[in-house]
């Protein structure tokens, strides 16, 4: 394992990106930070800038307005980084599949910038905090 990967997995700092979610997945992400689940004990922490982040938590099927912004946030994140598609919409647009403003699920938009991006999917509407933590563990174990 390279030194970069080792340091990535040691303590993952995450940046939360909402690209048109209904706010339900976002509430579950906030729930992960509450004392009951407390992901900070695992070294995971929400940060205020993508430049400080090791992982992006993306919620919502990507709207036309949000797509270039998501790509810009991904460009600013130091590599290697993991992109978590949180929720049914981020994984595959969910109930907004036929929406006039939807341009694609998160993986399609990210792969336009970086075809080799590491993307983890956490389905659910919304996913439980346990599922988000489990997804993070599995993704970090796999890389």
């Amino acid at each position: 394992m390279s030194w970069k990967m080792w340091s990535l997995k040691k303590s993952v700092w995450v940046f939360h990106v909402n690209t048109g979610a209904c706010n339900n997945c976002d509430i579950e992400i906030v729930n992960c930070l509450t004392p009951k689940f407390d992901i900070e004990r695992l070294g995971m922490k929400l940060v205020g800038s993508p430049r400080h982040a090791d992982a992006l938590l993306v919620t919502g099927g990507v709207t036309a307005q949000a797509a270039p912004r998501l790509q810009e946030v991904y460009r600013q994140t130091p590599k290697p980084c993991v992109v978590f598609a949180i929720g049914a919409c981020a994984c595959d647009k969910g109930i907004f599949t036929t929406g006039y403003h939807m341009v694609g699920p998160v993986d399609k938009i990210i792969r336009e910038v970086d075809p080799n991006a590491i993307i983890a999917y956490v389905p659910g509407c919304p996913p439980k905090p346990e599922a988000i933590i489990s997804g993070a563990v599995q993704a970090l174990a796999a890389i």
Partner: protein, 146 residues
């Protein structure tokens, strides 16, 4: 003011309405044509007075409907005013934003999604569609394909 007084108050604008429905004791549906909507709204908001909740725009095949939702909190009565816009080619209606500031954004949203022109609106600009959305395409109209 109790429910009965509210009913009597609403009788004052009956000549501008095309229909009154009362499915429940605390639910009143009023309908009017687009030309009278401004005066009826002004009456409901300023003279009764009711609390403005939200407005809804609907594309209903032969016309556009705008439903103004009002609440009367003393008795819990909900009053809905349906305004019919018959002209499908150039739908337009008088804006209620000049006297009811809370309606400004919802009118801009209806302008974005249905292409209804709100006359005398203080700032009728794009609100919720993407910046590169083409002009003249209104996604909530029935002729727009999914």
């Amino acid at each position: 003011m109790n429910q009965e007084e509210l009913n009597n108050k609403l009788k004052e604008i009956e000549n501008k309405l095309t229909g009154v429905e009362r499915p429940l004791d605390d639910r009143i549906f009023l309908s009017c044509e687009a030309e009278n909507a401004y005066k009826v709204n002004k009456f409901l908001f300023e003279d009764v007075p009711l609390r403005f909740v939200i407005a809804t725009g609907i594309d209903s095949d032969d016309c556009f409907e705008i439903i103004y939702h009002y609440a009367y909190d003393e008795t819990g009565c909900v009053v809905n005013l349906k305004a019919f816009i018959r002209d499908r080619e150039n739908p337009s209606i008088e804006s209620i934003a000049p006297f009811l500031l809370a309606a400004e954004w919802i009118e801009r949203e209806m302008h974005d999604l249905l292409g209804i022109d709100f006359k005398n609106h203080p700032r009728l600009e794009r609100l919720i569609l993407a910046d590169d959305w083409p002009d003249g395409v209104y996604p909530m109209r029935k002729e727009v394909k999914k």
